[in-house]
Chain length 359, copies 2
């Protein structure tokens, strides 16, 4: 079958608005690059809770199962914040999707566009011309999914616990991805752990060292997670590929994203062993600005580019979209989140149009 | 007994050099404030491994047991890095000390001196006149000490695990400290968790909310750890007291420290239920500059001030030392780590003398 099926899970908040722009761009790609795509929408997150009683309805899962990739918007908002933790839209939608499709490899590029370097919260002399870090997070294991987890006892002795666990094979497959990707970049992997305290992280380091033997052309460093949080601010240029377990990757990928100062620009890809993947913006559903037509669609559009690259293996189309985004930024177009000083912000759709035009 | 006994554990690297300056300052305090102090030195860390075969010899523990407080320098260095993780100086000295003396409350002030605001890696408009965050880290529980932890199986299925566990009473006692301390400051507690994913953190949030009822004058917020790492860089001024579990506190306290840009200035206190406490600089043993007489003694001196405050209840003497440090910085004295541009750095001892003089 030549046609690519895409499950479109726009979700809540700004999700639907920015998703519309990503699809607009993909329709241009369809024509320009001859990639036939079929889009199937499905409910996810808070709106799915409201309509179907669950953040990830069975019907949505079916749509995903029949697709080649999931284009995900964002979920959640104040409306659902009082739900118990395990029913909240983000957790109840994202965690099962990652697990069911065994999406163990989360790619979070954190790169600074030189025209937007001043948006970084870091001092200009530290940012320099900008940096380009790829945060690779193990996404299907670790303390998020480790068993047992539970709660027992009563009174002051009541206790609650989670298990941080890694199997050798889980570390092997994410480490392999890190080294492979580093080869296409600056050939440097920094593996993040806490091997001085955690037994699971001792195994982590051991396996990463073993895997590195297959990649003599790639430089491997190890860094404790507490030190990493400092080094990222002191000198982000020292990093190329960050290799992290699930929880440390959760923390550090967000730190990397904020370091760029342009959270609204950052895409992410969650990949498994096959070509199937889930693609979503790094930022959240931003309910405070939803429905105003001012959200930045770039992260969603760049997520679509990652889909073209990783699920459809169309580097040509992926680069064309990324180039179109870079040119649009260089041309001075800014949505409100990245507009500065005298720059007049453009709307979500105007930004989408400008990018689509340049593809 | 009126005399205060202090276990002096200078350790490795710059430890002995900066410790000498802290003791110099304490000897002035002894005279000026009439606080009799007896100093007993004991080996710890790498030098203790070399001499006695263990980073925390029984004799050192005895000295600590007979003291009112531990003044700790810093431990570790390249010489001992090839040891197995559980024998490394930092881990093998600090973790048992925390556990044996049940030092569950780690105080890490991260404050910016306005004269040094430009040292922060953050943009000047974000730093403003400086910020003042107190990071409170639970230090005797959580995933660092949780049982079971281990390793089992062979081949690809080999697995290693740690347990993140909190008891209600452990959360109660650290939360109480946070609210009490917030009352002496800007009355704001931000509790850090990952309650959307971790069962232990659901209990954490629940107990913190319960404890807050006793402190209606203190504002309580909750923040996910991944978001906290972003908010700290976006706007550090929004924080007063950060309340964290052991691992999240490890990560965020280091991030806070680096945010100030002056790691060499930051002290820490590790407290238990009694007046006994362990006081140490936030930074490490800096083996690269050890023995050169250029290390910054301020973190060690301010750690001594925290000892005067928390173990000896001598607010007068503690403030006098802190004021002396602030005045010395305002007077323009700089060790190499904080000297900028045309400033000529002074030596470790010159800095210690200048502060001692001002007490
Ligand atoms: C919502 C939450 C479960 C999720 C995570 O922690 O993985 C989110 O923070 C993310 O990073 O995608
Ligand atoms: C050395 C290590 C065990 C220790 C920790 O993680 O607690 C250190 O990083 C610290 O923060 O004091």
């Amino acid at each position: 079958r030549m046609e690519k099926k895409i499950a479109v899970l726009a979700g809540d908040g700004i999700g639907p608005e920015v998703m519309a722009e990503a699809i607009k761009v993909l329709k241009v790609v369809e024509k320009e690059f001859g990639i036939a795509m079929a889009f199937e929408e499905a409910d996810v997150g808070g709106c799915a809770i409201d309509k179907h009683g669950h953040a990830l309805p069975e019907k949505t899962l079916d749509v995903c199962r029949q697709s080649d990739a999931i284009l995900f918007g964002s979920v959640g908002g104040p409306k659902w914040e009082s739900l118990p933790p395990e029913q909240q839209p983000e957790r109840a939608a994202l965690l099962p999707l990652r697990k069911i499709f065994d999406l163990f490899c989360n790619l979070r590029p954190a790169r600074v566009y030189s025209a937007l370097a001043s948006a970084s919260p870091l001092r200009p002399d530290i940012v320099g011309d900008g940096f380009d870090i790829l945060c690779l997070r193990e996404l299907a294991g670790g303390i998020y999914f480790g068993q047992p987890k539970g709660r027992e006892g009563t009174g002051p002795k009541e206790r609650a616990y989670d298990t941080m666990v890694y199997h050798r094979w889980e570390i092997q497959r994410i480490a392999r991805k890190a080294f492979e990707i580093a080869r296409t970049r600056r050939k440097k992997v920094t593996s993040i752990d806490k091997a001085n305290v955690l037994t699971s992280m001792v195994l982590w380091r051991e396996v990463v060292v073993e895997m590195a033997r297959d990649y003599p052309d790639v430089t491997l460093n190890h860094m404790y997670v507490d030190n990493a949080t400092m080094q990222l601010m002191r000198d982000p240029h020292q990093f190329d590929v960050l290799l992290c377990g699930n929880m440390f990757g959760d923390i550090l990928s967000d730190q990397c994203a904020m370091l760029t100062g342009s959270l609204g620009l950052l895409p992410s890809a969650s990949l498994g062993a096959s070509d199937f993947g889930l693609y979503e913006p790094a930022g959240g559903s931003a309910p405070d600005i939803a429905g105003q037509g001012i959200a930045n669609p770039i992260a969603q559009i760049l997520s679509a580019a990652l889909m073209l690259r990783h699920s459809f293996h169309r580097e040509d189309a992926a680069s064309a979209v990324e180039r179109a985004v870079a040119e649009t930024i260089e041309a001075g177009l800014r949505t409100a989140d990245i507009a500065r000083g005298a720059q007049r912000p453009v709307s979500t759709t105007a930004m989408g149009d400008a990018i689509a035009e340049r593809v």
